[in-house]
């Protein structure tokens, strides 16, 4: 019997100081030591600033997640597993109205039920909160209005769940119904009762929560294109579909401090929100992150139920536990925004993208959540990886009487990326070129700036495309397969951490801080606030420290759960944790490393500069026999002071341009990916089967290839759901029809294709050991890759996701009707007739490939600004030389005469500009 039954003493734990001559010591693996440090590890992308910290221990090795054994043996404690003495059950009273004013709440019947211990309503928590400081529009419970079915009106605490449910059903609420809106377009109109009131900042009298206007580049040249794609997309809302429903336990201890046990991605924001809502200082609150049974962005807001649990626990003096039904998860939502996106892409006679015009109207549901950012992301996150001549984006987010949309894996980038990549496929067909050739001839080089001023450092886009092209057999299959069989390509681009920490000045406070403590036993305790939500953040931090200190993983332990002991971390969102937190961990470990080296130098007399760290041993690099064990060095360093402690942190460098909204989408690094999908479409029923996916992702450096592959495969599954079957479906009455996992169609194992994960390592100069994100970016390309493959298979483009069989069938039927085909089986499949432009693109792609290789290996490459491909000086921002180069963030009157759908949000004037409002 292996596994947890094994006696702990019999596991092959390493002795802390047994490096060097000991038989359990592992040899240095030259294949893991970079060539710049004298090892054999090839570095085709050049050396990295962390090279001299590489001890060849764990970085780049397939490492099982350090918390995996807790999970597989059932010992992981999730939100609902917390059991405290005297605990009682809380239940939320949710409204059955779409939109109504709450007139009165009568709890007298509920109060009289034996076993009911406490009831709270909106009056108990008048303070608003929200995940973004600029849009605090949520309350623990309704204070004035309920905004969607399932919105919380009150909550009860009782001895057990049955009583709590009974009591919740016994609360009588009197409402005045208001006119609800469900259609996203209605949100643009003026309303008698806007869903929220933003005071003087309210946009018109409408339900527009946020609007964005951006014009960059030579907008006037867009008309000169020789081929254009125009798409009009509808994306249904999708939910994260994580396994663990939300659950929370709140406990006020005898000293009057609150501990909140919650599966949270972003414990620090809950911490702040609790202080606001409960009117107590933050130091009186300990936020304890339990194991998180999946988050994907759906557990990153501070939530009303967390406030309710704390309020009920304070009222009753007992620990209160609240666990959601699945339906409540859907009502809490924060999933991807339902969107209407029109996308126009233009190409000129040299096959360059002369312009991208996007108009995105997104449905925020009842609350703001992350929506302010999402509105920007829908535009700015498709300004790369291609060099573009002009970029015009209008975006608007409206409130409707539905559960709130928010952040979900690939936040804000997924839908518009799908529209862009399908557009490029269409343009390449119109130009008569291979879509991969077209992409390869239009990529931004390493160390460049995008049209809106994002700083691109490493970029492995070209390698991703080349790898999937070769491995999928693209050239033999594309536009050559029979009806029903198809292959398609799609790319992705995503932030690796958000450059702007929303609660403070990035120039003053770090994004992430990690503390290390090493006592006489030699084990290293890492204190971090980064939330492991299953993505493996604990493991990656442990790996980083183990690598720098030359220690095996079993000597590293993580304390990342409690805000009482963890340094503040911004949490697990925007794919920031590996980049920022591992960088902080490396910086802390470097301090310990120098102390160990100083101690070893003192013992051996070898110059500190000549000392290296290997497997639990600190020794001279010139004569490895001169050295001391790790423990000897450690104990020497601890003399007169005891445990070694160190604090390391990470802060992003100053980046970006100065225009309004310039910080949205700004990141210290970006990830890139390219997927090829092969599909089989049943033309008679419209059913899609995705057979195989070749998925290449540039994560900079795979610190843990096992978990990078896991992220790629998982992303494929999640994105696939949005393409083929997942949607939050609302009926004619505005009710969410499928708030359960039978009705909400997450693909099963039968729908899941074989995924071939391909890791591309572009060695990011600022990432820890070269790493960038791998958690969200890999989701983006699967959507357009499948859409494009469906087109290759049946010659039909469907601009509505999910492409359920009925939609495909409808499109097939109409194509048959138009083409005069009697049966869908007679449809022709698309074919490619290459034009002379193909050759031009291939040549340009080959030249750029050489250009990129040179630039990435140069230690100080020259500046490269988007626009150089169109004849601008690459080293100067184009707006400085060309007065006709737009940098415009407010619409002009000409635009407002004929605005796009989302752009029409700008027809409203804010109250403050009308001289109204508070």
């Amino acid at each position: 019997m292996v596994g947890y039954r094994q006696q702990p003493g019999k596991l092959d734990f390493t002795r802390p100081g047994s490096g060097g001559s000991s038989s359990v010591s592992e040899k240095r693996e030259p294949g893991r030591i970079p060539e710049s440090q004298g090892g054999d590890l090839l570095q085709p992308w050049g050396p990295h600033r962390h090279d001299d910290l590489i001890t060849g221990r764990v970085i780049g090795k397939r490492t099982p997640l350090i918390d995996s054994k807790w999970k597989v043996t059932g010992q992981a404690v999730y939100g609902d597993d917390i059991r405290l003495p005297g605990e009682i059950i809380g239940r939320l009273v949710r409204t059955d109205r779409h939109y109504a004013r709450v007139l009165s709440i009568d709890a007298s019947e509920a109060e009289s039920i034996p076993g009911v211990l406490g009831i709270a309503t909106g009056e108990d928590a008048p303070h608003a909160f929200g995940v973004l400081p600029v849009t605090k529009d949520e309350h623990a419970m309704a204070v004035e209005k309920v905004r969607h079915i399932g919105d919380i009106v009150a909550c009860v605490a009782a001895e057990d769940e049955d009583i709590a449910r009974l009591a919740a059903n016994s609360i009588r609420i009197e409402y005045e119904d208001l006119e609800p809106i469900f259609d996203i377009k209605d949100g643009l109109k003026d309303s008698d009762n806007p869903i929220h009131d933003r005071g003087r900042y309210h946009i018109g009298e409408s339900n527009v929560q946020k609007r964005v206007f951006q014009r960059f580049g030579r907008i006037q040249n867009i008309g000169d294109s020789i081929a254009s794609h125009e798409g009009s997309w509808t994306f249904k809302g999708v939910n994260h579909g994580f396994t663990e429903p939300h659950a929370v336990v709140a406990h006020w201890d005898p000293r009057g401090r609150l501990t909140l046990y919650t599966p949270q991605q972003v414990p620090h924001y809950v911490h702040r929100a609790l202080a606001d809502v409960l009117e107590i200082p933050m130091h009186q609150i300990n936020v304890y992150r339990t194991f998180v049974g999946g988050g994907f962005g759906g557990k990153s807001d501070p939530f009303p139920h967390e406030m309710c649990a704390a309020i009920l626990a304070r009222k009753t003096g007992r620990p209160v536990r609240i666990t959601f039904d699945r339906e409540e998860v859907f009502w809490t939502n924060r999933g991807r925004h339902p969107s209407k996106i029109s996308m126009a892409i233009h190409a000129d006679d040299e096959g360059r993208f002369s312009g991208i015009e996007t108009d995105a109207l997104i449905d925020g549901g009842g609350f703001a959540s992350f929506g302010h950012v999402t509105t920007y992301y829908n535009g700015v996150l498709h300004t790369a990886p291609y060099e573009i001549g002009a970029f015009h984006y209008t975006g608007a987010r409206v409130w409707t009487n539905k559960p709130a949309s928010g952040a979900m894996r690939g936040h804000g980038a997924v839908n518009s990326r799908c529209a862009v990549e399908v557009g490029i496929d269409d343009i390449s067909e119109k130009l008569g070129v291979d879509p991969i050739d077209l992409r390869l001839a239009n990529l931004l080089p390493p160390h460049s700036a995008t049209i809106t001023g994002f700083r691109i450092t490493s970029i492995g886009m070209r390698e991703c495309l080349e790898r999937v092209r070769a491995e999928s057999g693209w050239d033999e299959k594309f536009r050559k397969m029979p009806l029903g069989k198809g292959i398609g390509v799609g790319c992705g681009f995503f932030i690796s951490g958000s450059g702007l920490p929303i609660h403070w000045d990035p120039n003053k406070f770090p994004h992430a801080t990690v503390h290390l403590k090493i006592d006489m036993d030699g084990g290293v305790t890492i204190h971090t606030g980064a939330a492991d939500i299953g993505q493996g953040s604990d493991t990656v931090v442990a790996q980083s420290v183990a690598e720098v200190l030359g220690l095996p993983m079993d000597m590293i332990r993580i304390r990342s759960r409690e805000s009482d002991t963890s340094p503040v971390d911004l949490g697990s969102y925007s794919s920031r944790v590996t980049f920022m937190n591992a960088n902080a961990a490396v910086s802390a470990a470097m301090q310990i490393r120098s102390e160990l080296i100083a101690a070893a130098s003192e013992i051996t007399g070898v110059d500190e500069k000549r000392i290296v760290i290997g497997d639990r041993r600190v020794f001279s690099k010139d004569d490895p026999s001169i050295g001391v064990s790790y423990l000897e060095a450690l104990h020497k360093a601890q003399e007169d002071r005891g445990a070694l402690v160190a604090s390391g942190s990470y802060r992003t460098p100053p980046m970006g341009k100065m225009h309004k909204g310039a910080a949205a989408g700004l990141a210290p690094a970006y990830s890139f990916s390219a997927y090829v999908a092969e599909v089989d479409v049943d033309v008679e029923t419209g059913k899609i089967k995705v057979e195989k996916v070749w998925a290449a992702h540039d994560c900079g450096k795979a610190l843990n290839p096992l978990s990078v592959e896991g992220q790629i495969i998982g992303s494929c599954h999640m994105g696939l759901g949005q393409v083929i079957s997942e949607e939050m479906r609302y009926g004619r009455t505005g009710n969410l029809l499928n708030p359960d996992l039978l009705g909400y169609k997450i693909p099963t194992v039968h729908e899941m294709p074989e995924v071939v994960p391909i890791i591309v390592e572009s060695n990011d100069p600022e990432g820890p050991f070269g790493a960038k994100e791998a958690g969200e970016g890999p989701l983006l390309p699967i959507l357009p890759a499948v859409c494009n493959a469906v087109y290759d298979a049946i010659g039909v483009r469907i601009q509505e996701l999910p492409m359920t069989p009925d939609k495909i069938y409808r499109a097939v039927e109409s194509t048959c009707r138009k083409g005069g085909f009697e049966s869908p089986l007679d449809l022709p499949s698309p074919r490619l007739n290459q034009t002379p432009l193909s050759k031009i693109l291939k040549e340009r792609g080959a030249q750029h490939s050489i250009r990129d290789r040179e630039r990435r290996l140069k230690s100080e490459p020259s500046a490269y600004h988007n626009g150089a491909l169109f004849g601008n000086d690459p080293e100067t921002p184009p707006e400085e030389l060309d007065p006709s180069w737009h940098v415009q963030v407010l619409p002009d009157e000409e635009y407002l005469e004929e605005p796009g759908l989302a752009g029409s949000a700008w027809l409203h004037t804010e109250r403050r500009h009308r001289g109204e409002g508070r």
Partner: protein, 331 residues
């Protein structure tokens, strides 16, 4: 999610079972039968017509067992899938039900008596309160149907059992028992057009087993099922087709039945009787598909829109006929 409290009765013989039901009826207690519970318990958790008494059939030995011509009501679906004796058409239909875990619990009787389903019904209590409930579970409000308003007569919730069409095609006879005695009927007569009453079962009556004619062993057929995902999902439409094939390969006794389109499964014997055996099979399959499309009347209460389900009826019928023909040739 909490299952509402109920008292459970566990009779050990069929007589005990119907007697328990009689007693409860005499005491004016409402009750449900439970076999695998994979349909009933989720509905209870949603608060859809829960009863205070439940009679479990788990211990009733007489109504188990799977053999070529007799399948007990308590036979687990997975046992039907794995049985070497059962007609392949029945195994095929059983294998398409939900997932293996549900099939290990779910039973033949439960599948036949499956409650009808509807977007406006299979929801939590708060949800249903938000639409003021519906006809099928009105909580005493006298609510209207939410699918087709202003017709307070028939419930149009959809029947989504997979086994019924296969069994109907093979000429199955269903056996029922109650304290008043036993009766039997062809399976297609078991179902009654209404999403609420659903079938002919009287209060206190249960399905004991289905019986298949010996001639069914020489029938060849196919079951085609439409759904979004290849596991878990109920049929959005299902068509079974079977023909009698004699030793010389002559074909007779054609039958077709559908499920998932309406509030009951339906036999389409009249349609297949019109098949011209002299004509080319492929063309006849196509023609019959179009006929079936005109016959079925789906409504908007499941995952796919009714217009699509109607059109797919023709594809399913065509494919069932073609697949059956293929199987005849290969056999």
């Amino acid at each position: 999610m909490r299952t509402p409290a109920f008292s459970i009765h566990t009779p050990h013989t069929l007589d005990d079972a119907v007697e328990t039901a009689r007693k409860l009826t005499d005491e004016e207690m409402e009750f449900d039968w439970i076999s695998g519970g994979t349909d009933l318990i989720p509905n209870y958790k949603w608060g859809i017509n829960p009863k205070s008494h439940v009679i479990s059939l788990a211990a009733v030995e007489e109504i188990r067992g799977v053999s070529a011509f007799r399948i007990g009501a308590m036979a687990r679906l997975q046992d039907i899938v794995e049985s070497a004796e059962v007609h392949p058409l029945i195994s095929e239909a059983a294998a398409s039900v939900a997932s293996i875990m549900i099939r290990r619990s779910g039973t033949l009787g439960g599948n036949l008596c499956l409650d009808t389903r509807c977007f406006w019904l299979n929801q939590s209590e708060t949800w249903r309160r938000s639409i003021d409930y519906c006809h099928k579970c009105d909580e005493g409000t006298g609510a209207d149907c939410r699918v087709i308003p202003n017709q307070n007569e028939l419930c149009v919730a959809t029947y989504q059992g997979d086994l019924a069409p296969a069994l109907i095609c093979l000429g199955a006879v269903v056996h029922l028992a109650s304290s008043a005695g036993r009766r039997e009927m062809p399976l297609e007569q078991f179902f009654q057009e209404d999403g609420i009453t659903r079938n002919v079962l009287k209060n206190g009556e249960i399905v004991t087993h289905v019986e298949l004619p010996e001639s069914s062993s020489s029938m060849v057929g196919s079951y085609q099922k439409l759904r979004q995902r290849e596991a878990w999902d109920f049929p959005e439409g299902g068509v079974a087709f079977a023909v009698q094939v004699d030793e010389q390969g002559n074909i007779s006794g054609l039958n077709m039945a559908s499920t998932g389109f309406e509030s009951i499964p339906r036999s389409h014997k009249d349609l297949v009787d019109s098949i011209d055996m002299g004509a080319e099979w492929g063309l006849e399959a196509k023609r019959l598909g179009v006929e079936l499309k005109r016959t079925v009347r789906p409504v908007l209460n499941t995952w796919f829109p009714p217009s699509y389900r109607k059109k797919m009826a023709s594809v399913l019928a065509k494919r069932a006929m073609e697949e059956a023909a293929k199987r005849i040739t290969s056999a």
